[in-house]
């Protein structure tokens, strides 16, 4: 896989993961182009399209589009299920995930993705194993942190 983009129906980018080195300018250009292309497609259309020399596999979940770019010889259907498994992981972690969860906890969305896909390849497909890794990290976080006052949190101290 070369990259994965999550964006809303309004075209707002919610998550971007690049597995090939590209300049920021190029990334922005690709994002603009793909968001436009995918949003222009009608609901019943097929989930795959050729784009430049890549294959785009996308699927919409509620208000969010998940869009992956894979190479010519990659398997489209299994990519579609990569997307689904990632959605399941988010759903299990956040508990019926919605777009706002991903906005407010974007760093978690990245951590989960890194456990599931690494360097553009599937690393671990077991839901249990992925979430175990994330939950362990959360446990470490909770142990490490002491409660703080609200005032301090919002920077008023």
């Amino acid at each position: 896989m070369q990259f994965m983009l999550l964006f809303s129906r309004q075209g707002k980018l919610r998550l971007q993961k690049w597995y090939v080195p590209l300049s920021d300018k190029e990334k922005k250009k690709i994002t603009r182009e793909l968001v436009q292309t995918v949003l222009a497609r009608k609901p019943k259309m097929c989930s795959f399209l050729e784009w430049r020399d890549l294959k785009i596999v996308y699927k919409r979940y509620a208000s969010l589009y998940f869009c992956c770019a894979v190479e010519d010889q990659d398997n489209e259907l299994i990519t579609l299920e990569i997307i689904h498994r990632y959605v399941e992981l988010l759903d299990k972690y956040f508990g019926s995930v919605c777009e706002l969860d991903i906005i407010f906890n974007f760093e978690k969305a990245y951590f989960i993705l890194d456990e599931f896909l690494l360097g553009g390849e599937v690393q671990e497909t077991s839901k249990k194993n992925v979430l175990k890794a994330i939950e362990q990290a959360d446990l470490l976080q909770e142990e490490a942190e002491t409660p703080r006052s609200v005032l301090e949190e919002i920077g008023l101290t």
Partner: protein
């Protein structure tokens, strides 16, 4: 703000994100962000040392701002500081920031690498994984240099945790992709391969990806992975749906791992070990069988996962291309999907079938789905699916269904999406050319293309139709008639004007006999379009006009008037002006003979790779053309794209891709030679000697010249070539001429240029000219394969007495002919006395380890040395009577083999070499000719008379010459032409 479920630590971040979301405008958002940036900057610069938590929070805010699309130019140092924190979450945010925002600040990279090094050495698996993720996410060369040698060690270490092994495998993969030179191979490869046996499915899943990538570079080192992959796959495929617990996905056992294993196997040929192969075939059959079982779940995830494995299995079957049974089963399975209610499956089935179509085992099976595919082209609502259908039609096309497919694609073109029109146009043009049985259909198809989608018909397409019409004399009359009719349309596309202008300029004479398309009518039709056309087209039309002056002397005055008009002679465009001036002068100063030589019909184009095909390949990119480029083709296939002469053996060509066999390594068309300006041509015409006189085409400087091999001086190659090719073999060393040698030679009795011979390896083109008793012939040998020909030695042999009758001097050619290349050989010919049998051309070379030899008859016949003689009726009859001895006359009565067309007959007789005498024979239907055969020793006067009988479809041909054998020989040669 939603309640965040777990691990919530940074309220300040949540507040900030909330604020941003509440901004009503872009300006407000930017204002809020700038305020935050100022705040963070002051915190980072402040005197008070920040604690880890605050650092983490601010770094995270910066990251959020960056992901919103704003530039971040500070905070990197703070993020690097977080890396060395002992707290996991701080470290984690630090790594995330680095992964997303890394830049090649070398000072920073050194610090980052230092932190990574510490974490890798920490023996804390969570820290190690974070560090490995970071390397995999950044994948820069600096990181490769620092860690490429450590990671294989971590990967194969006995005490590494499973999760660390997984990350290490994919981390190594990323580094290898970025800088393969940095990843050392060697002692650890065997242990990496053995990860396929690992207990932990996650480790196997990660390791397969790594092995698949590495084995492409070193297939031998990783060869053992094949049997391991087969047994792993076999265990998965035969397992019950619950065996693999969490690795089962919607009742499908380990779909990701299965797909990856099937991909790995596609890096290798079928296993040689019979047991392994048997086990694998069993797996593939099981997958195909399972596809027929009822689904275990109604969920789309179940069917997607199952079908993902099925499609990958089919890819492997196609890759092996050796199991006819499996190929046909695969095709049937895809056939079911073609009508599936899921658009995704229809799309994939069309795509996958495209590759199946190029296998000789399944080509016929694919063809049975033609109606479904045509229906898809017409009814699919999604353009990407329609495009796949068009691709598949292209791939399944062969001679049996070409007319149907081309007409459906033409119909589709009328409503096709703009984005794919040009590609469809190219495909139609290629198919029409490749599978044309009669070339009138080809001409009709291309003209239809121009009519329907003129804007999308690129130069390559209309150049090509001109090349083909020029090279095939049987279609020229039809082409002239058809373009003439097409030009009648009130609004016709400019491309039509170009094609029409060129064809009428060359072959307008073939329809000039009909008063409805008489020369003045042709001219005024073309000229009515002139003023609406672009400069390039007008330039082409000017060339057509000068050709008309030669073809139809009666139009001379009118055309000179047009050329002389101020709008031409003083045209602001220098090209148009130059043409007008030069053509006007040429038509005024040159004699009829000179004009006829300069404006002679264009010589045939030497055949090379079709320029259209090259364009399609360019358009689709190297990867996308793979279905076309597939080299696993039926080697017996005879049809080569661009082969202008269809031979009967091409009828069963399995697919268009077959034709590309020889063209894959073909060099791009040579750059156009320096344009010969009209001025240069004039100089050539007036110089003496047998130097090649290039014919002036309507557009001498336009790009179809790039398809022509310039008659270059001897290539410097020849000097370096093998200095000792075998001496000319004597006749006893030469095999008999191939059976069709006579037929091939007979095609050249009335013409001097064309393709003499063509098979799947070699094409031989001829260009020749004769004057008096001398001739010069250029032979063009084209290697149609992608491999080199060695010991290439063409030679000319004089059987029997020919040595004393005809002298042929040959120049040696290079002994190697590269794949796709063409070499030229020059022959100087002198006719010493009259002769009957033609010389033989023997061509020998080595190709792919076997030696090839071929003997042809060289198209040098006695009539080439004809000098036409004009004479009045009275003189003719006097001489006719003088040659009245029975042995001086030869006569033949024979049935017409071609349509009896007076114009064509005239052209053939002129090509034969004699003068045509008007007003001699009392019957205007008859033809009478006279000429002298020039040899060094003697001259032979010849008179001929041809009497067509249209009712009986018969001819009577009478020859009278002063030498008996010549009469008979000429009579035989000429009789075969009608």
């Amino acid at each position: 703000m939603p309640a965040v479920s777990k691990g919530d630590g940074m309220r300040g971040l949540a507040v900030f994100i909330s604020d941003i979301r509440n901004c009503k405008s872009k300006e407000a958002e930017i204002k809020r962000i700038n305020k935050e940036l100022a705040n963070i900057r002051s915190k980072f610069k402040g005197d008070k040392a920040l604690d880890g938590y605050s650092k983490k929070k601010y770094v995270c805010k910066l990251l959020f701002i960056f992901l919103l699309g704003h530039d971040i130019d500070f905070g990197h140092m703070e993020a690097v500081n977080l890396l060395s924190s002992n707290k996991y979450t701080e470290k984690q945010i630090g790594y995330l920031f680095i992964s997303v925002l890394v830049n090649s600040n070398s000072e920073l990279i050194r610090l980052i690498n230092n932190a990574i090094k510490n974490d890798l050495a920490s023996r804390n698996p969570t820290f190690m994984c974070l560090a490995l993720h970071c390397i995999a996410n950044v994948g820069s060369r600096e990181m490769g240099e620092a860690f490429a040698s450590d990671i294989p060690r971590i990967l194969v270490a006995g005490d590494s945790m499973d999760s660390v092994k997984q990350s290490a495998a994919l981390c190594l993969l990323r580094l290898y992709k970025a800088s393969p030179d940095l990843v050392p191979m060697g002692e650890w490869t065997a242990r990496v391969v053995h990860l396929l046996n690992d207990q932990h499915m996650g480790v196997v899943t990660a390791a397969v990806s790594l092995i698949t990538c590495l084995c492409k570079k070193n297939p031998d080192d990783f060869k053992t992975c094949v049997s391991l992959a087969v047994s792993r796959l076999s265990r998965i495929v035969s397992s019950a749906s619950t065996d693999l617990q969490d690795y089962t996905y919607y009742f499908v056992p380990a779909p990701w791992l299965s797909v990856k294993l099937l991909r790995l196997l596609q890096c290798y040929p079928p296993p040689e070990d019979a047991a392994v192969k048997g086990r694998l075939v069993e797996c593939l059959e099981t997958v195909l069988n399972k596809a027929q079982e009822p689904p275990k779940s109604k969920k789309v995830q179940h069917s997607n996962a199952k079908n993902a494995i099925l499609f990958e299995t089919i890819s492997l079957i196609i890759h092996y291309d050796s199991e006819p049974n499996l190929l046909v089963r695969a095709c049937n399975q895809l056939g079911q999907f073609l009508q599936h209610r899921e658009t995704n499956l229809r799309y994939l089935a069309l795509e996958s079938m495209c590759t199946l179509a190029s296998s000789e085992f399944s080509h016929e099976a694919v063809k049975t789905h033609i109606d479904t595919v045509i229906n898809a082209l017409k009814t699919e609502r999604d353009v990407s699916v329609r495009q796949r259908a068009a691709d598949l039609l292209y791939a399944m096309c062969d001679r049996s269904n070409a007319k149907q497919i081309v007409s459906e694609m033409l119909r589709y073109l009328e409503t096709a999406d703009y984005a794919i029109r040009e590609e469809i146009v190219l495909k139609v043009a290629i198919l029409a050319e490749k599978y044309a049985v009669d070339y009138s259909w080809y001409v009709d198809t291309i003209l239809n293309l121009i009519r329907i989608a003129g804007d999308y018909v690129s130069e390559e397409v209309w150049y090509r139709v001109l090349q083909i019409v020029t090279n095939r004399d049987d279609v020229q009359g039809y082409a002239a008639k058809t373009v003439f009719e097409a030009l009648q349309a009130p609004a016709c596309h400019e491309n039509m004007v170009k094609v029409g202008g060129y064809i009428l300029g060359e072959f307008g004479n073939l329809i000039a006999g009909d008063p409805r398309s008489s020369p003045p009518v042709q001219f005024s039709l073309l000229h009515s379009k002139f003023h609406l056309c672009s400069v390039a087209t007008r330039a082409l039309l000017l060339s057509t006009y000068i050709k008309f002056i030669n073809l139809f002397p009666e139009t001379k005055a009118t055309i000179q008037g047009v050329l002389r008009a101020g709008s031409q002679l003083r045209n602001a465009d220098v090209e148009l002006q130059q043409r007008a001036v030069e053509y006007l002068t040429l038509s005024s100063v040159a004699s009829t003979d000179v004009l006829a030589t300069v404006l002679e019909e264009m010589p045939p184009f030497p055949e090379r790779e079709s320029s259209i095909l090259a364009k399609l390949k360019r358009k689709k990119g190297p990867g996308a053309a793979s279905a076309l480029d597939d080299s696993r083709r039926d080697p017996s296939s005879n049809d080569i794209n661009g082969g202008v002469e269809p031979t009967p053996s091409t009828v069963s060509t399995p697919s268009p891709s077959a034709d590309l066999l020889g063209l894959r390594a073909a060099p791009p068309p040579a750059a156009a030679p320096a344009p010969a300006s009209a001025g240069n041509l004039l100089v050539d015409v007036f110089s003496d000697g047998p130097a090649a006189v290039p014919s002036l085409g309507p557009t001498p400087e336009e790009a179809f010249l790039s398809e022509l091999e310039p008659p270059a001086p001897e290539s410097p190659m020849a000097l370096l070539a093998d200095p000792a090719p075998a001496a000319d073999p004597g006749p006893e060393d030469v095999g008999p001429p191939i059976p069709e040698a006579d037929e091939l030679m007979n095609k050249f009795v009335c013409k001097n240029n064309g393709v003499l011979f063509e098979n799947q390896l070699l094409q031989i083109g001829v260009k020749s000219e004769f004057r008096q008793n001398l001739g010069r012939m250029y032979l063009f040998y084209g290697n149609k394969t992608s491999a080199q020909f060695q010991n290439f030695s063409p030679s000319v042999i004089h059987p029997g007495d020919l040595q004393t009758q005809l002298a042929v001097q040959t120049k040696r050619v290079a002994a190697q002919v590269d794949g796709g290349a063409q070499v030229q050989q020059v022959l100087n010919i002198e006719c010493l006395r009259d002769f009957l049998a033609p010389p033989l051309l023997s061509v020998r070379f080595r190709y792919g380890g076997s030696s090839q030899s071929l003997t042809l008859k060289l198209p040098v016949t006695i009539n080439k040395f004809f000098q036409p003689t004009e004479m009045a009726a009275q003189d003719f009859f006097q001489r006719w009577k003088q040659l009245s001895l029975p042995q001086q006359e030869a006569q033949k009565i024979f049935k017409a083999n071609h349509p009896m067309d007076a114009e064509v007959t005239k052209a053939k007789l002129l090509g034969f070499g004699s003068a045509l005498l008007d007003n001699v024979d009392p019957n205007p239907e008859n033809f009478v000719g006279a000429g002298i055969i020039q040899t060094k020793a003697l001259q032979v006067g010849c008179l001929l008379r041809l009497e067509p009988n249209a009712q009986a479809q018969m001819y009577r041909l009478t020859l009278r010459t002063s030498k008996e054998p010549v009469s008979r020989h000429l009579c035989e040669l000429l009789a075969q032409q009608f």
